[in-house]
């Protein structure tokens, strides 16, 4: 269904905005979608596990800033060490993402605190740390290979960013569908007790989830900094909204236990299509944020209705007239015994 919405929106835009349906525009849509998609895929795992990670936007800024600080600090126009510096910057950014994510996971798992509050706290910590790196100033003068990373193409037409996005998507799909960890993440969100009684310690799963979310966010930040050749502490502004929106639009309920990163990826593309379409229509890009916010609410509603339909006993009660279609109010527990 999401795919249908995506196609519909794209068709509408290409009809009313002449510049929309061009190859350049398509490339641009995908490139813009990549950082949001990375953020959303990491966020997906947190949401599948029944939690949420509010710090991913701040981590995007911190990842870009820490990688950027290394690159701009060590690069002074010299040649030869160019690619090495870029990789060092990338490594530092990913390491910062890993440490930040592990911190989230440790606090949530070990101290048994609510992910919402913990990551709200680290949103502040990561955001503040990003400012501290440069006193809030943007950083630039990166090695040329970082420009290539953010703006180059493979075999002439496939932007490197898009290629990276596809590879990361497959990695996350692998974790989601082919690994024991993936099963345990979903089980943690669906019924923590079930996981515990099956002999699995949730803390290990939680560490993985937030570590991957942190690394993905920092990676997105580094790619964004490379693309614009500037790292700024505010790079993550609004991206938390976009990341969570992509997950929710992708069909994953915030109650956890289900979803697919494929949906999150498509959600990110849809968000990017909206932005591009609005620009082509000559509207201010701020409208994108407004539209995405509204879309989140619609998506949550649709997802709730679908949840109810999937649960045993729903049709029976609709037929019996005790609930109007799509508006059943009680959730979870009591449903299974409703015959």
């Amino acid at each position: 269904m999401l795919l249908a919405v995506l196609v519909l929106v794209s068709v509408v835009f290409s009809l009313i905005a002449p510049g929309f349906a061009t190859v350049g525009s398509l490339d641009n849509i995908l490139v813009v979608a990549v950082p949001v998609a990375l953020l959303a895929m990491g966020e997906s795992l947190a949401i599948y596990s029944g939690g949420i990670d509010l710090s991913v936007g701040a981590m995007l800024g911190l990842g870009g800033m820490s990688g950027g600080a290394i690159m701009s600090g060590l690069y002074h126009g010299q040649t030869g060490t160019d690619i090495g510096l870029m990789l060092l910057g990338l490594g530092v950014a990913l390491a910062v993402g890993l440490v930040g994510g592990l911190f989230n996971g440790f606090v949530i798992g070990k101290l048994k605190l609510e992910p919402l509050i913990v990551t709200l706290g680290t949103l502040g910590i990561f955001g503040g740390a990003a400012d501290l790196i440069s006193g809030g100033e943007p950083l630039s003068s990166f090695p040329p290979s970082s420009f290539e990373l953010g703006n180059g193409s493979l075999v002439g037409f496939l932007p490197i960013l898009v290629a990276i996005g596809i590879v990361v998507l497959f990695l996350f799909l692998f974790v989601e569908r082919m690994t024991t960890l993936g099963r345990h993440i979903f089980a943690l969100g669906a019924n923590r007790d079930a996981l515990v009684r099956a002999g699995v310690t949730p803390n290990g799963v939680i560490l993985w989830v937030y570590a991957l979310a942190g690394v993905a966010a920092a990676f997105a930040g580094f790619l964004k900094a490379s693309q614009f050749q500037t790292a700024t502490p505010i790079a993550g502004q609004n991206t938390l909204l976009l990341g969570v929106a992509a997950v929710v639009i992708g069909g994953a309920p915030l109650t956890g236990g289900e979803g697919t990163v494929l949906g999150a990826g498509l959600g990110a593309i849809l968000i990017s299509v909206l932005e591009n379409g609005f620009v082509e229509l000559g509207l201010q890009s701020y409208w994108q944020v407004v539209a995405v916010g509204a879309l989140v609410i619609v998506a949550v509603y649709v997802s709730q209705v679908q949840q109810r339909r999937k649960t045993f006993g729903y049709r029976h009660r609709v037929r019996a007239g005790t609930v109007p279609a799509g508006l059943m109010l009680d959730e979870g527990g009591s449903e299974e015994h409703a015959t």
Partner: protein, 252 residues
């Protein structure tokens, strides 16, 4: 058939089990022997049935007394200890992940994997095949193991939990009022599940309220009252009236 159900005739015996909560004796010098088949525990509220099950499942430790499985004394400090000796509990909330498939639930925490270049990948095909067998063993009508558990009825969910417990080496299955939340049709289906478990020499210990059902199903019945075992019966020697008499204390 799984390794679980091939273990013929597991017995669990309790000797002098005593458990106090403050000054109240939840169990006072309780002795029993549960063997293959369905062992039913009946009794009024507060008789000590649940405490007894909790002790057997390793959740509660008795103040004194001992437990033996197949004649060998065991020390059940945790639920894990109990599981290690083949005692598995079916929790009232079933401990299932509703959004996940029947197969995922059966294998949760014990997933089968294949190794490619040192990377462990889920072996879905093998798990699906085993899940189909495990469900076929308990002879209850069930959709494909790929179906999400939340689409199942209460009875079917219970069957999934039983299949999981039996498949993974449960020699002794503990059930605490397993049909309390089920409708009549579901209850009948669940007892079918239990019957086939018992036919395969499983040992089931069940706390039950439905006395006619207990009489019809059980191989052994013990009656508890105020922390004591007040009577032990074979189903053919007793009746609902007799059981009720012992439960409330008017017979002895």
């Amino acid at each position: 058939m799984s390794q679980a159900t091939q273990a013929v005739g597991s017995t669990v015996t309790g000797t002098g089990l005593t458990k106090y909560y403050g000054a109240v004796a939840a169990l006072d010098n309780v002795n029993f022997e549960f063997g293959p088949g369905l062992n039913a525990i009946v009794g009024d509220n507060g008789a000590g049935k649940s405490t007894l099950l909790k002790i057997l499942s390793g959740v509660v430790r008795p103040d004194s007394g001992s437990i033996a499985v197949n004649g060998k004394e065991v020390d059940l400090k945790t639920a894990r200890d109990a599981r290690a000796v083949g005692i598995e509990s079916l929790y009232q909330d079933l401990a299932l992940a509703p959004t996940m498939s029947i197969c995922d639930n059966i294998f949760l925490g014990r997933e089968l994997t294949k190794s490619y270049f040192g990377v462990k990948i889920l072996d879905r095909r093998a798990m699906m095949a085993v899940a189909r067998n495990a469900l076929a063993e308990i002879r209850i009508k069930m959709p494909d193991p790929a179906t999400a558990v939340r689409t199942l009825s209460g009875g079917q969910r219970q069957a999934v939990a039983v299949a999981r417990a039996l498949h993974f080496g449960a020699r002794i299955l503990l059930l605490d009022e397993p049909t309390a939340a089920l409708g009549p049709r579901e209850t009948a289906a669940f007892f079918d599940t239990l019957r086939s478990a018992v036919r395969q020499d499983g040992t089931v210990v069940m706390v039950g309220h439905n006395l006619p059902q207990v009489l019809q199903m059980a191989n052994r019945i013990i009656v508890m009252r105020a922390g004591h075992v007040v009577a032990k019966f074979l189903p053919e020697e007793t009746s609902v009236e007799k059981l009720t008499g012992f439960m409330v204390g008017s017979a002895s």
